[in-house]
Amino acid sequence: MTVDLATRPKAATPRGPRRRGAIARGHVGWAFVAPFAIVFFALLVTPLLYALYLSLFQKRLIGGTSFVLFDNYIKAFTDPNFLDGIQYVIVFSAVLIPLQMAVSLSVALILDAVVTRFARFSRLMIFLPYAIPAVIGALMWGFLYSKSFGPIAEIFGMFGAVGPDLLSRDLVFFGLLNIVTWQWAGYYMIIIYAALQGIDPTLYEAARIDGATGWQITLRIKIPLIAPALLLILVFALIGTLQFFNEPQILRYLASGAIPSDLTPNMYAYQQAFALANYNYGSAISFALGAVVFVCVYLFMFITRKRGSFLS
């Protein structure tokens, strides 16, 4: 649109110096883009292409490296370890994302409704877990869950009961669920809260004049108006969860075999590449995971877009 405005007078008076100026501006533009472009190509595109290249080969302990084209991908999509991992992260997302949304949305709505100094303090505290590195968070929770010196065991112990072992095979799912929710709910809360702050307060006033209750304002005005923010969070959460890695990888060392090294596809790729030296298959798994994430996110966008138009 801005291009139209700029070219119109130029078309009327096509003069040499001006054109040269335009060309020079183009060159200057490249100079501005260059630092980013160099980093982007050196640190993202090149390694990606290299990983793609690696994924087309197979290296065996006996017989060396050979070109196998898409064999690694065929293997990945028929590999029960990989498919189980995909299934795990999908199930995990299906439980985690609604939970995270519910927590962050309700906290944001409460903090939006309450205007005291305490609300500001709470906002900061709820956001704080996001500022803690995932690795440290996972280690910390590993200790909190501990059967022998964790507070959960202690609280149950006070009543003479045995606390749940959130690092056992049966419950580790919930243990991980709790850690990730704790880590991210505050971050999502801030996004939702910011969206809530952006709503024109006169809308609430008008609604109140019309006799709407606080509950109705929340359901009929606030939530529909922040729908784009919610959608954004959902997509972020989906992508993040499908690539689940840090927390289970750290907790593995505390969980007595409850977390296998191929629990999630990313962990499986890590194991293949760095423990088993199978960089080729590791790369293939990573790209296969990338494809799965892409399909999931695309499907999700497709579904929610339809529903969005239906709502409006």
């Binding site: 993202l44 390694p47 990606l48 290299y50 990983a51 690696l54 065996r60 302990l61 006996i62 017989g63 200790f143 501990s146 059967k147 022998s148 010196f149 095979r169 784009p228 959608l231 954004l232 997509v235 972020f236 992508i239 993040g240 690539q243 890695f245 060392y253 505390l254 969980a255 007595s256 075999g257 409850a258 296998p260 090294s261 990313n266 790729a269 890590y270 194991q271 590449a273 760095f274 423990a275 088993l276 030296a277 960089y279 590791g282 790369s283 798994i285 990573s286 790209f287 995971l289 990338g290 994430v293 892409f294 996110v297 695309y298 966008m301 877009r305």
Partner: protein
């Protein structure tokens, strides 16, 4: 309209995820030669050639300083690249990259074939092996050899024994069991009297189970570097199944715990008297002391006894852990590197500090056969002459094991099966069968001919 940036963000993240596969942490040294600058120690004689080394022994700094001081031919530049798996992952990355490995590297005996098959470490039998051959036992050499080739210089060993708590044994009126049947009976007796767990089956210590299977006569792997394509894998033979069923039974009856070892949780249990015994190796007191065991209330309660046997009349001695110095194929001067490997942990001062202060079990016969070592009253065991009574006979009776050329995969797969046993979802025999299937499949995928 909003979908576009989101999709772009999504794609970026997808790509970033794929990047995981190539974001390795490379070696800490550049190429490993005389230009090495990342030494933890200070090079004492600047004009000599330098050999780089990775090792994690607790007294490594002293050992390196001793060596550098006494040597006029070469100097060692030492880095601690992490213990066990951490170091192996870095080395593995350096192997694949073709650069970044040190000249000399500390490796546990059970991982030597893993790196040998990738030609990441070299045969040092031509570099002065004959001069030091008699300094170590045959079993010690077998552990670091693959077929005829010698791929490491033994430093410390892990002859196994049974560490136990005297106070618990006294309370429940039991004496150290000499057979596995007695071990189970004692465990049952302690449990019936309301006592603590008798031991622990950690899913993360498959090397222990492998050793105990060996003790029962199993031979999981037969492998010869002269014929590297073929390997025989026997993980579900009757002897192995008997051992796994035995331990699965202990777990099922609630006689032993199922906690992973080396975790804070396990150590706090050990300190708190949750376990009456610890089936472990000669280096365990060093590890336990480092983790804070044997201080305060549980000081002076530990003792050690020989490992229980299947047949007390015909004892078999086995080994857990223990490590060696290998020369990597990236060494710029393998002969010089081998000199370091042979000499670096061999002087009296280093050896004595190792076994006295760090509880490292020496394999060098100079130390192993010295009266001071044999008669040493180990403080951790309340002055018990543990070496003489338990560990030296175990080390002398040890004849060596054959390890697999794909240690990382085997131990990983074994972990999973042990976790399934602890979980109650598989019996010992079923776990052995499952392990056999996955490992054979992996070996075939890797191009081996499985016999």
């Amino acid at each position: 309209m909003k979908t576009k940036p989101v999709l772009a963000a999504a794609l970026t993240l997808v790509l970033a995820g794929a990047l995981v596969s190539c974001a390795g942490d490379g070696g800490t040294n550049e190429g490993g030669n005389s230009e090495a600058t990342n030494c933890t120690n200070k090079i004492q004689k600047d004009d000599l050639p330098v050999v780089t080394m990775w090792a994690w022994y607790p007294n490594m700094e002293l050992v390196v300083d001793n060596f550098n001081e006494q040597n006029d031919e070469v100097q060692v530049c030492w880095t601690n690249a992490g213990q066990g798996g951490d170091e192996y992952d870095k080395f593995q990355t350096a192997i694949t990259a073709g650069t970044g490995a040190p000249d000399v590297i500390m490796i546990e005996a059970d991982r030597i074939p893993t790196f040998q098959v990738q030609e990441a470490i070299v045969d040092i039998s031509a570099f002065g092996f004959e001069d030091v051959k008699d300094d170590y036992s045959e079993g010690a050499w077998k552990d670091v050899s693959v077929g005829e080739g010698v791929y490491g210089v033994p430093v410390d060993g892990g002859p196994m024994g049974m560490i136990y708590r005297k106070d618990i044994f006294e309370t429940y009126g039991i004496t150290p069991p000499t057979t596995w049947a007695e071990y189970e009976a004692a465990a049952q007796k302690v449990k019936d009297a309301g006592g603590p767990l008798f031991g622990d089956l950690g899913a993360n210590t498959p090397a222990v189970m492998m050793a105990l299977q060996y003790q029962n006569g199993a031979e999981p792997f037969t492998y010869d570097s002269a014929n590297p394509e073929s390997i025989s894998i026997d993980l579900n033979d009757p002897a192995s199944k008997e051992v796994l069923d035995y331990w699965a039974g202990l777990v099922e009856k609630g006689l032993v715990g199922t906690q992973d070892q080396f975790t804070p949780e396990y150590i706090s249990g050990v300190i708190g008297g949750d376990y009456a015994t610890y089936i472990s190796a000669a280096w365990a007191p060093g590890y336990l002391t480092g983790a804070g065991v044997g201080e305060g209330e549980d000081a002076g309660v530990w003792a050690t006894a020989p490992l229980p046997q299947w047949d007390a009349a015909d004892p078999t001695f086995v080994n857990w852990g223990g490590s060696a110095f290998s020369v990597t194929s990236q060494a710029s001067n393998p002969e010089l590197a081998a000199k370091v490997a042979f000499g670096v942990y061999a002087d009296d001062a280093s050896l004595t500090d190792g076994w006295q202060n760090q509880v490292i079990f020496p394999l060098n016969l100079k130390a192993l056969n010295s009266p001071e070592f044999e008669n040493y009253e180990v403080p951790f065991f309340g002055g018990q002459m543990a070496n003489k009574e338990v560990y030296v006979p175990a080390a002398n009776g040890y004849t060596g094991m054959t390890y697999t050329p794909f240690g990382a995969y085997y131990f990983d797969a074994f972990n999973e099966q042990l976790a399934a046993i602890n979980d109650g979802s598989l019996s010992g025999s079923e776990a052995a069968d499952a392990l056999q299937d996955t490992v054979v499949k992996y070996a075939e995928e890797q191009g081996f001919t499985v016999e």
